[in-house]
Assembly symmetry: C3
Homo-oligomer: 172 residues x 3
């Protein structure tokens, strides 16, 4: 099962995803993908960590997520944006390479027999970015979001903390 949770900055995506994971398992895995790149970011991570309790097993992995065995687990991957950022920065301007590496890695993850709850950002809705790097990253993020959404059984958009169902192939 793949459930994609998308939405904007501080829309309540992570909280929604955590509640969902705990409703599916009393021992979920938290797969943290962030490379720590500034103080504000570290603070944000700490806030999220405090919110989660002892039930969680946390795995920190920047890029090669498939090194871990998630068989029969409920895994919250939070989030795709920070994970993609690591490919984006490591690959210079070769966005094709980032896209290929990321999709190949996702294929390996989706081959594992486990339940995925995946948090991402919906981020191309603010108008034309001021700089080319933001433009390129928005394109990369949008392509990966489309890829995951196509594979997902469930896709939920979070607006002001509330879920809006975009796709549900399970109920149908």
């Amino acid at each position: 099962m793949i459930h994609l949770i998308t939405g904007g900055q501080r829309s309540g995506k992570s909280l929604f995803a955590e509640d969902l994971a705990l409703s599916l398992s009393d021992r979920p895995v938290y797969l943290a993908t962030s490379r720590i790149w500034d103080e504000a970011h570290r603070e944000r991570i700490e806030i999220h960590k405090h919110r989660r309790g002892n039930q969680w097993t946390t795995i920190e992995e920047e890029k090669i997520l498939s090194l871990h065995d998630f068989t029969k687990k409920v895994v919250l991957l939070d989030c795709i944006t920070l994970w993609l950022n690591n490919f984006f920065f490591d690959n210079g301007e070769d966005d094709e390479k980032s896209l290929n590496e990321a999709t190949q890695e996702l294929e390996k993850l989706f081959d594992q027999n486990c339940d995925w709850i995946i948090v991402t950002n919906e981020l191309g809705l603010g108008g034309h970015p001021d700089n080319k790097m933001a433009m390129r990253f928005n394109d990369l993020q949008g392509s990966i979001n489309q890829y995951i959404a196509k594979r997902a059984d469930l896709v939920t958009l979070i607006i002001s903390g509330l879920p809006l169902e975009i796709k549900n192939t399970i109920r149908a």
Copy 2:
């Protein structure tokens, strides 16, 4: 009753909210929260004022909205973003203080026996902001939106002038 109307810049939020207020009362209150901070902004306010008619009672209040008695009125609060801006700028970088002051003020408003129509902006969907101040404000706005949406009976997202129902606890 609390009805939250959220959406992007020039999405038609205000017009939708005004029509809604007039459908609920022939003497609604317009609660204007804006501090006038530049010419373009003043122009925008004037356009909105012209659109509204004589049926409206307008109250201008920047921060302490609960100074007014709204009992049994239909009140359009337009908008949360401009109101939050006033706390944000007055409190320096103490966003925790802004969040506390704003939520406490909202509690007082929601304790009044009246119908609230509240306009806000959905604004974290444009990618990572270029500057830290925008990042901080988006976080503050997102937190307050989640807070109001949780308390609201109805939440509507406006897309290209059209309403999309996100929450409805009345019909259910």
Copy 3:
């Protein structure tokens, strides 16, 4: 019939619109509105062109789209944003003029007896733009989106490549 497809950068709007056009006609018209303004933009257009096949008749027109006769055709107009840009840049800061010229042109198009599939961008959801020009363009885009959405029979928001129905006057 007018079907408006709105969404963010790289959300899959164009692909969705193309599939829709091909489901309605085996000889659809592709109405390209873009003025080529940089290399990245040209590349993006080429990617889109490669994706489309020989079934398409392509018409390139920057502003006066109604010069062409689309009677009984299925026409994909991709996209409103690039088309509006051309008025925006040609009219200096006279956004009222751009709005009037664009709406008048749209009226002429909608008077033609054909099926319109129109791609636009939903772009005011990223917070307050850094510069006044972006602010002005977002306002212009938002006004035109509202105008088309009001006239449209169908409005679809694309999120991560998936359609979300916002308006449907045909089914109702």
